[in-house]
Subunit: 163 residues, 2 copies
């Protein structure tokens, strides 16, 4: 395989037909996330971001995570993570714990209420994914979607800074 610097698919101009998949991708994302967010807010009073934060925490060892790591996983700035956790703390869904191994660090830890809230909200989220995303894709195409999306994510994430 050629290790061509970065893209080299061809320079790409406006009105190029290869923009079609890109536009479809953008629209898909916009509509699906909006739907998932609406459903969670309407049925459980949680934004999609808040739900994902709880989800990330429940999958972490001890149901706790350093703020910095949490910010990364949420693709959020550090301050964004701080304020998101602030809200969840106010709602009693997570607690703040000072990190044992690093006194300047803080950890967010899921409370019992947080676990419970997540459990009741999960069906809504999962139903949304099935209804808006998975059910629109032919079964045979799913592996391709997974592979390509993973490649895109890695490429856009990995090529950090340097060309």
């Amino acid at each position: 395989m050629p290790t061509l610097a970065t893209s080299q698919v061809q320079p790409l101009t406006p009105r190029d037909p290869r923009l079609a998949p890109w536009r479809a991708f953008v629209m898909a994302q916009a509509h699906v996330s909006r739907r998932l967010d609406e459903d969670l807010r309407a049925e459980h009073g949680l934004s999609l971001q808040e739900y994902v934060a709880l989800l990330i925490l429940v999958e972490a060892p001890d149901h706790r995570l350093r703020m910095g790591r949490l910010a990364e996983l949420l693709t959020l700035s550090k301050s964004g993570a701080t304020r998101l956790i602030d809200r969840l703390v106010d709602d009693g869904l997570v607690g703040r714990v000072t990190c044992s191994s690093d006194l300047r660090g803080a950890e967010a830890a899921l409370t019992e209420a947080g676990v419970a809230r997540l459990r009741t909200a999960a069906p809504t989220h999962l139903r949304g994914i099935a209804e808006y995303f998975l059910s629109a894709i032919d079964a045979e195409d799913i592996p391709v979607v997974e592979r390509t999306m993973r490649a895109v994510g890695d490429r856009a994430c990995g090529t950090r800074g340097r060309a």
Copy 2:
């Protein structure tokens, strides 16, 4: 074909492996749009939304569009569109015109400066799409991506309101 209510791919539980493509999709979108936004801001002082607004306008007949329609195409609320156009007007990139056929309607119209700005910013955007998105996908997979993303977009957009 079965007209099964909505999803019926299978109820879907947490930790289901079918969530993998969904997660990859979410990460891909997050990283790619962030990159495109950063690049446009750094090189042209435009947010991705502002760029897309200009792009939509340039593709419209007469380079003008009703506010409502613009909001739809941007997947934005009406007030969101109003404020976005406000900024572009302040920058001199678009102008406001009262709609000829409906006195309560307003239209946004691209100025010469807007067209010019779009033209200079386009290469950055197109390069980003090629580099972060297209070049990560095998050529043979691109049609599948386009087809599936279109299907997902339509499904999440079309099933408006009613089950």
